[in-house]
Assembly symmetry: C2
Homo-oligomer: 105 residues x 2
Amino acid sequence: MANHLDTFFAALADPTRRAVIERLTEGSAPVSELHAPHDMALPTFMKHLSKLEDAGLVRTEKKGRVRTVHIEAAPLEAAESWIKRQRQVWEGRLDRFARIAEKPN
Amino acid sequence: MANHLDTFFAALADPTRRAVIERLTEGSAPVSELHAPHDMALPTFMKHLSKLEDAGLVRTEKKGRVRTVHIEAAPLEAAESWIKRQRQVWEGRLDRFARIAEKPN
DNA sequence: GCATTACTTAGCCATATGGCTAACCATTTA
DNA sequence: TAAATGGTTAGCCATATGGCTAAGTAATGC
């Protein structure tokens, strides 16, 4: 089960990249606009975008000299559902404990 | 907002560490037992445990020579809620699009 | 009390990551 | 067509990461 969760979570483990995702939930944007608020060189920023793209969190398309970036929801769902599953098993265990505690005989 | 999400997501970005979390949802366990199924040296495995502990995903306590590891739910909730929020904003945007599409005048 | 068990500490290694500059296309725009 | 705009490519650097071995310590078990 060493699936794509590696790249998904790694992509989200950086504040710059999470900020890009947050920005993209409000709509697609060209690279230069996404880059503007981040105090780093463009090539550095492009590396972050590549990671997001490798993780499948983002899709890009180039028209003329402008590359536009779009968010991709599926991986977010995959990551969320993994976490949710863990919590459910864990909470289910707590529930069983609680039930045992409530029936003390 | 460069909070603890960095360490949370980084901790989950490795299959060994996710496997440990999955195992721990079924109950706490000593280091040696958690290590057993993983084909790597113990010190290497301990580094993974440290990352989980640094991320707050796990808590440990030592009794005698045995260190027992317990899962900690709060960070899982934090990570899950971040992802959920992104999805909600993104989906909200889609909904607005849909509403606009439905009212074409 | 000696051996085993269960980690710990220390140190080394290769690769990955996150950052930079400099120089180079390729489209627009003036 | 020359200049500006929007990326891209190449290459360098420091630190982090994930792996190892070897040797040490501290409880338990025999």
